[in-house]
């Protein structure tokens, strides 16, 4: 063994000063462990929950926060919109329940849209984590329950009272003791109580898993110091990325079908040094329909778009959000007042990334997408051969092209909601699916074409009747806009027995009815046949 080699290396070691605090090796190891603790809790939750919305739709998120409710790490497969919301919910619990009164075995619960994630269908629970008798962290999870009572989710709801049971900030477990009054109330108010409560208990055990797994890490490190460091690094990465954008105010206008008249989202994005502020002044007023988007959800989808554009590879935590602020006037669609209905808020919230992309189109011409369409969905419930059924199917759409490629076809964006397999839908509901096809030629034409939407068509079986059906559909009147000379995508449409119908009102379907949902294609990018030229124009 060449002895002198190691001596040389040792000498180097001696002459170099060790960095203060966490070195880049130790920090990497501890950070990865934080994320893996959350992923483990996520796996336990998904395996035990009942909602198809969670397992097929990914309609959930789990985070670990510090004792003050600041996010430290999130599950890898999370719904983007929830990531910004969850830590804020923990903050609300901390306001309602002073930290010095929180004890082991407590579990908090709410579905308040303003304090949770924007509609009553999502229930959040948070579990305090203790170490050596001290409150050090929270495990928090939010997921879409199979049912929350009230009407079936529909944009026609005018007030929150129609949308289902409201659970204010409460304790589900108090020092380990179940709150039986609350549990009985929930059981009495929802359509499938075994499944709904089953999901809530799955949340509780997922959070407990996180608490247990975190103990090993707490034994070797100071979570507060670690949390401060990872938040600092993520914040710095976001600030660095923002600094590379030229200062200025960038504007966009995005239109949604609306009801009597279109809904308008006005976005003014101000880059100032290493911060971004997004002001949605000028956006339509709040509506007596279920499309209202609470501020935290507005924030969540705005931040998501910036994160994906600016630093997608940096682990997310509180620090990533700090340099970004959003605002919308009180009483507007993006900052509605109680008792606004919000069950279909994703149709509007999912347009916020488009607003951000469009605003930054000239600044990041090679990263942004032309307009695409968020998801649509159909919910059916009723009774067949004496058994009750309830089924949801998401129908995604075409996405916008970019400067470098065609848009994605039939892909969920900005959410991440999967379809329900045809074989599963037909097992659950008395329908025959006639087609789930790409809606070819629906993408806008351009140097790169927009992606194709989907055509999902089904027929009610001859021996079925009275199927209560509600649709959430979007981009049916307002086309998905092309960019830089690219053509618009084809709007979506909803047909009942060959005739176009309004998706706002729920329908009762009868035997033999044929429903055809066609989702929009994505917008094209660049004038057709323009080759590389359009790129060069942008640069000059």
């Amino acid at each position: 063994m060449p002895q002198q080699d190691t001596d040389v290396i040792r000498k180097t070691a001696a002459t170099e000063a060790k960095a203060a605090g966490f070195d880049p090796i130790e920090l990497e190891i501890l950070w990865k462990r934080l994320i893996s603790v959350v992923d483990e809790a996520s796996a336990a939750f998904v395996r035990t929950c009942f909602s198809t919305l969670v397992r097929d739709g990914n309609d959930f998120a789990i985070v670990l926060t510090d004792a003050k409710g600041r996010s430290l790490a999130q599950s890898t497969m999370s719904l983007p919109g929830f990531i910004g919301c969850l830590p804020a919910t923990v903050g609300h619990f901390l306001e309602a329940f002073p930290p010095d009164e929180i004890k082991p075995g407590d579990v908090f619960i709410t579905n308040d849209p303003w304090k949770g994630s924007g509609h009553v269908h999502d229930v959040t629970t948070a579990t305090p984590i203790f170490h050596d008798g001290r409150l050090v962290a929270f495990a928090a999870v939010v997921s879409h329950l199979p049912d929350i009572g009230g009407r079936l989710r529909s944009n026609s709801s005018r007030e929150i009272y129609e949308e289902g049971l409201q659970i204010p900030l409460m304790k589900l477990l108090d020092g380990g003791e179940p709150n039986t009054v609350l549990i009985d109330m929930i059981r009495q108010n929802i359509r499938v109580p075994e499944q709904g409560l089953g999901d809530i208990w799955a949340q509780v055990s997922g959070c407990r898993t996180m608490g247990e797994r975190l103990q090993g890490l707490l034994a070797v490190t100071d979570l507060e110091a670690l949390g401060t460091e990872v938040q600092k690094r993520s914040e710095q990465a976001m600030r660095d990325a923002i600094s590379r954008l030229p200062d200025g105010v960038y504007r966009s206008t995005v239109q949604h079908d609306g009801f009597d008249k279109p809904i308008v989202i006005e976005c003014a994005l101000t880059v100032s040094g290493d911060t971004i502020d997004i002001d949605y002044s000028g956006t339509s007023e709040q509506l007596p329909y279920a499309l209202n988007v609470v501020p935290i959800y507005t924030f969540a989808y705005t931040v998501y778009a910036l994160k994906a554009l600016l630093c997608p590879d940096v682990p997310n935590n509180e620090g990533s959000f700090l340099p970004i602020s959003t605002g919308a006037p009180a009483g507007s669609l993006l900052n509605p007042e109680y008792p606004a209905a919000s069950g279909g808020r994703s149709a509007i919230g999912h347009l916020l990334p488009l607003a951000v992309f469009t605003a930054l189109a000239d600044v990041l011409p090679d990263k942004i997408w032309a307009a695409g369409s968020p998801n649509s969905s159909v919910t059916m419930s009723g009774s067949y051969h004496g058994e009750r059924f309830a089924v949801v199917n998401f129908v995604n759409a075409g996405q916008g092209a970019t400067s470098g490629r065609d848009g994605f076809s039939a892909l969920s964006f900005p959410a991440n909601l999967g379809n329900t397999p045809v074989e599963m839908i037909e097992r659950l509901a008395p329908i025959k699916v006639l087609r789930r096809e790409l809606r070819r030629e629906s993408g806008g034409i351009g140097r790169h074409n927009g992606g194709s939407g989907i055509c999902f068509e089904f027929e009610v079986l001859p021996d079925a009747s009275d199927i209560m059906t509600s649709f959430l559909m979007t981009q049916m009147k307002s086309p998905t806009k092309g960019l830089k000379g690219g053509g618009d995508g084809k709007p979506g449409q909803l047909l009942l027995n060959g005739e176009a119908i309004d998706p706002t009102m729920p329908r009762v379907l009868a035997a033999g009815d044929v429903v055809r949902m066609e989702t929009a294609g994505g917008g094209g990018f660049g004038a057709p046949g323009s080759g590389q030229d359009s790129n060069r124009e942008q640069e000059t």
Partner: protein, 703 residues
Amino acid sequence: MNKHLTDENLRIAVDIGGTFTDGVATLAPEGRIWVSKSPTTPDDPGRAVSEVILDLLSHASEALGIETLPVREVVHGTTLITNTLIERKGSHTALVTTEGMRDMLDIGREWRYDIYDLEIQLPRPLVPSDARLEIGGRLDARGAVLEELTEESLDAMVAGIKALGAESVAISLLHSYVNPEHEQRARAHIEKKLPGTAVSISSDLAREINEYERTSTAVANAYVQPIVAAYLEQLDARLSDIRDNVPLRVMVSSGGFSSAESGARSPILLLESGPAAGVLSALNTARQHGVDQVLAFDMGGTTAKACVSAGGTPPVAHSFECARVERFKRGSGLPILIPSIELIEIGAGGGSIAHRNRLGLLNIGPESSGSVPGPACYGKGGADPTVTDADLLLGYLNADRFLGGTMKLDKDAATGATDRLADDLGVTTIETAWGICNIVNENMASAARIHIAENGFDPRDFTMVATGGAGPVHAVDVARKLRIPRVLVPIAAGAGSCLGMLAAPARIDRSWSKPQLVADVDWSEVADQLGALQDDARQELEAAGASEVTWTIGAEMRYVGQGAELPVVIPFHEVGPSTGDALIAEFEKQYKLLYGRLVPDASPQIITWRLVGQEPSQAHHFEWGDDRTEGKVTPDERREIYLPLRGDFESVGVYDRYSLPPGTVLNGPLILEERESTIVVGVEADVTILPDLTVSIAIKEFE
């Protein structure tokens, strides 16, 4: 022929890997082994197989002094299927679906496997849209015919296939997992009208609900089928040239082997045969030493894998992903519904490159230096520091005896590459080298820890069995991080897959999906179905040479409304209503173990039934065919290695592994070197050479 040799015969296993084709011959029933290795011949893989077999025969003949040894069977494993799928070099394939479903392969599940990546790459379908045909006929979810499949429709299908000139056809129709009749008729029609065209039907391969995943499986099978069938036929012919009437078996992903004919029909079942064999080898070592709870840990040049097994049998999963666009991202590959030993990829291999990420932190992989240029220390122009470079700087590898001295490692190159990274990070070279090793070990331990916890176990009850070129280098530190107290390193770690094949039992898996409440099950129907599958499976097992077979009934169960199933297994018996009680009891036991509490008022449901027949697993004893030990227990030399607990270098003894006689007991820290690998014991430990030359390392920290 010597009379007493009539009971003795050779069994041979050959595994084709990316770089080498490995072979092992064992003399049954004694268990003496001979190994051979030859560079893989990608243009004609069978050539290397023949060379290896001839080489093994000559070694064994020489050692035993017998000219013509009887060969009982040849067991074969290959990466041909995986490679064909990854490289998209399969046959010209057409897909036949139900009307309205031809875009299934493009649409998939509509979700993104990475929510922040705006330039996400989606897996490209194996069959392009212009090679997909739709046919009439329609079933409902219970398998009842809503619309007949007409002769006209079948004729139109045949005309379409002919026009495409497809060599192979996959047929996947809605609800065929309940009623396969339409798929079977379509296959018969093609076989009659277009003889010579290969046909794969989804209900044969994966009788499970969810059309996209089942179709993907049928398409992958069709895509590789003509190539694999031709290959196995050629191999059989080569084998006949060497010896008459030697049966050729193939290893399947579920950890058994089947006849070559069955492998040629359903090649997709062979997909993960190599890694499965590696696990069987580790489990065989564990069984030899009376160990019940095992973490099989394998680390090679490009990947590290782990398998958690309790009770002697490996866990078998029924869905799998192949040809991933991004190796570590779930959902970026093609879904394949086949039974396969549940192996998780826990990290990158020795060639993974270390770099500074945009947060200023040290990251390893996923980029790998591959074999060209390879790690910096290979001296072939690699400029980036890799895990292997770190192992060299830490003193774990011997620069002069890598691969038995056939390859010299360049320590200066490794130091230079690591120095540059250290400057970037603002830490010392050695801190960087140990950082690389430590992070890699930590990542592997984290992934394994999650996997063990997901299965409801505690790592402290486990023993690790380490294989692969880099496995024994990292095993002890990974075990320490997991608080696993003991590590076993079997002999011939480099030929582990082959030993696994020789230890594998004949095995058949059959399944069908029929989601219903346990309370609603028609038990006579289940009994009939099981009986029919058992008859069919028994024939195949006989063809694979099995004499004694044990059967188990499995059910994938959950509470109504849940999305994930728990696999439940009970012994085979006359099926009746009491079967339901047995299944529920086992389900509740598993559920409590995994999730702590049962769900009140929820109803258990069965989604998929499974029938498994296999030969009883036996402990196979293996020992070197030649005498290798020299009975020398003094170290060959001393070397400075980095000891993680001391945070510094210290001089330790370096031993030639195979010169140590059984019964030798040494104290760690130390190094044991062998040709294909190095066992690094960087902590205090009792290191014992067991009678079969397996090395046992008991970590003192956990005594």
